[in-house]
């Protein structure tokens, strides 16, 4: 059905295009992501960064091209099937269930009891609680398990959403501006967290804060008008004349 070949990459995007009424938000994009790789996508507003994440997680349907995750074509799968295949995505604004406690937020994200009847029969047993506590510790919220999550600070909400993804143990984790609105200290803690969780999986991050990008990125890709402008390590990208032109020329 698809002409692209299988690869060793966790994620391989080939010839991906999406157009909204003729406007190409993503234009013939090719992009590869390795296991254990933490890759940051940067670019000016409207470059198509969030659209790429939307395409991968199925929120937006591609006009043409292929997205393969562990050699499984994602472009024709529904959103929940993509998640179940092992792709987790954090939204730009913290997207948590404000009326539920931290524990309940993590429980709802726990990857068992995902069907209607499975959820009716689901039991909060010792295994579930152990996993929830383990994740809560990782995201520095182990003392807030019974707190209504709407009462958390902005930074804690961001962590909680990351935790809600971690509990599903995704092979690909996509984070849209994970440190937006965080204090300096919270940024440091988040950088540590991201370095830790990128082990054993692939992480794709969209971020504007260059200092933060430099701290976490293994590889950086600059997106501009739906196309890749440059890709490589932070230093190479920063010295790339095209990138300088796009960021400073306007």
């Amino acid at each position: 059905m698809n002409m692209t070949t299988n690869t060793d990459y966790t994620l391989s995007i080939e010839d991906l295009t999406v157009s909204f009424d003729g406007f190409k938000a993503v234009d013939d994009l090719n992009f590869y992501l390795d296991k254990n790789e933490l890759h940051v996508v940067i670019g000016p507003n409207g470059a198509g960064k969030t659209t790429v994440l939307d395409l991968i997680c199925g929120k937006t349907k591609a006009t043409s091209g292929s997205i393969k995750f562990l050699n499984k074509e994602l472009t024709n799968l529904s959103e929940h099937a993509i998640v179940r295949a092992g792709v987790g995505r954090k939204f730009q604004t913290p997207s948590i269930y404000e009326n539920l406690s931290v524990l309940e937020n993590l429980e709802v994200s726990y990857p068992k009891g995902r069907g209607v009847f499975g959820s009716l029969m689901f039991k909060r047993d010792a295994t579930v609680l152990r996993k929830i506590k383990e994740i809560a510790k990782e995201i520095m919220l182990e003392d807030e398990l019974d707190t209504e999550s709407g009462l958390l600070s902005h930074g804690q909400k961001q962590w909680l959403e990351i935790g809600m993804l971690l509990i599903q143990d995704p092979q690909l984790l996509m984070l849209d501006e994970p440190v937006a609105g965080m204090s300096v200290k919270e940024r440091e803690q988040t950088a540590e967290l991201l370095n830790k969780i990128s082990q054993g999986r692939s992480v794709l991050v969209i971020e504007h804060d260059m200092e933060f990008v430099a701290r976490i990125a293994h590889k950086v890709t600059v997106l501009h008008q739906g196309k890749i402008l440059a890709t490589g390590d932070m230093e190479a990208v920063q010295n790339n004349p095209d990138v300088i032109e796009v960021y400073l020329g306007h």
Partner: protein, 388 residues
């Protein structure tokens, strides 16, 4: 044991709430009301099924249905068809030009029992149909809407339109449905006179037992992971979808369950009131059901029952003396509740109820020092974790 206590009763405060309600409808009403008034309360309590269904669907699921009358009506008509067939035995209808069919069919020059009426001569089929057909209908509507991600106001309008269509259909097909008059003259059930006082008492108690059963089943759903997913969908639908859930299936399930509950109420209505008509299917009853749930508290299964009783007592009291004012009053009450007390009676109870319970606690403490165990902290912790 803890499963029954926590999951079905809803912990301490949930159990207390349920026991108070049970005492009120099972003991207090039968003791203090005559057979006529008790039958009227029984009728109100059939609406409470629909109000409880709206707590699940609207309060927790965030999906407002303005068409619960559809399912109430389907349940009611199912039961009415069974009773009507029994009342239309060839002996009872010997004077008709076609004996053995319901009288309204004979008046409409129908000479043969329509095919879809036939199976309703069996009580077993009728009960199964009352439970399954409305749920099946809800499944079809729900799949068509939720799979296409139609929700919110659009869903409310579409359910309302379906309620209108169904009413028009029932009124228009007089020969098949009894038309605007509905299905009347229902007398016996398997030979048992349902208009007798003893039958009315039995139906009243059956109705109460079913209502409590429905509340317990609903509590089980709300305290399970399903309940938390339902709340999560109401809060952040996309987050749930991108956590690996097929959101539409959850909405379809709760819509079907709500339909089934409403249909049970409809069937009990027919049994207690003795007829069924399109005026319990359309827009007005459907919106009234929403008002019952809103006034009682759309997040409270038990509150919905009190809301239903309160509004209906009010309706009866006012419409006896000021019939034309009642609709305005109810409309005003609805607007007032939505604007100032979004959580209805149950919300008021949670905000101010402890003043009253504190007084009672003072009295009980005089008799029993141990009642300190009911500290207000525990009470509020219970309230937070279990739907009341």
């Amino acid at each position: 044991m803890s499963f029954v206590y926590e999951k079905l009763m809803g912990g301490k405060s949930g159990l207390v709430g349920l026991l108070i309600l049970a005492a009120l409808i099972l003991v207090v009403f039968p003791l203090f009301l005559d057979a006529f008034r008790l039958n009227m309360v029984g009728k109100y309590l059939t609406y409470a099924f629909a109000a409880v269904s709206l707590v699940l669907l609207w309060g927790y699921g965030g999906t407002l249905s303005l068409g619960q009358g559809i399912f109430f009506g389907l349940g009611g008509y199912g039961m009415a068809m069974f009773l009507k067939l029994e009342a239309s035995s060839p002996e009872n209808t010997a004077i008709q030009s076609t004996p053995g069919i319901p009288d309204f069919m004979d008046w409409n020059q129908i000479t043969e029992l329509p095919w879809f009426w036939e199976p309703f001569s069996s009580l077993g089929f009728t009960i199964a149909a009352i439970l399954i057909l409305p749920a099946l209908f809800a499944y079809i509507i729900g799949s068509a809407m939720f799979k296409r991600r139609v929700g919110g106001v659009y869903f409310a309008i579409i359910t309302q339109v379906i309620a209108v269509i169904l009413t028009v259909l029932i009124v228009g097909q007089q020969g098949l449905t009894g038309g605007i008059n509905g299905i009347t003259d229902l007398r016996t059930m398997n030979g048992w006179d349902i208009t007798s006082d003893s039958a009315k008492y039995i139906f009243y108690y059956l109705n109460c037992a079913l209502l409590i059963g429905v509340i317990i089943a609903s509590r089980y759903i709300l305290t399970s992971k399903f309940g938390r997913i339902l709340l999560a969908i109401r809060d952040k639908e996309d987050r749930v979808r991108f956590s690996g859930y097929d959101v539409a299936n959850f909405k379809i399930f709760i819509f079907c369950f709500a339909a089934m509950i409403s249909a049970i109420g409809g069937a009990m209505f027919t049994l207690q009131v003795g007829f069924m008509s399109p005026s319990f299917v359309g827009i007005v009853p459907s919106i009234e059901m929403v008002i019952f749930a809103a006034v009682g508290g759309r997040m409270s299964l038990i509150g919905a029952v009190y809301g239903t009783l309160l509004i209906n007592f009010g309706k009866t009291a006012f419409s006896e003396s000021f019939p034309e004012l009642w609709l305005f009053l109810m409309g005003g009450l609805f607007i007032g509740v939505v604007m100032f007390f979004p959580n209805g009676l149950a919300g008021l109870w949670e905000d101010y109820g402890h003043h009253i319970t504190n007084k009672f606690r003072f009295i009980t403490r005089l008799f029993n020092k141990k009642s300190k165990a009911l500290s207000s902290e525990e009470m509020s912790a219970d309230k937070a974790s279990y739907p009341s």
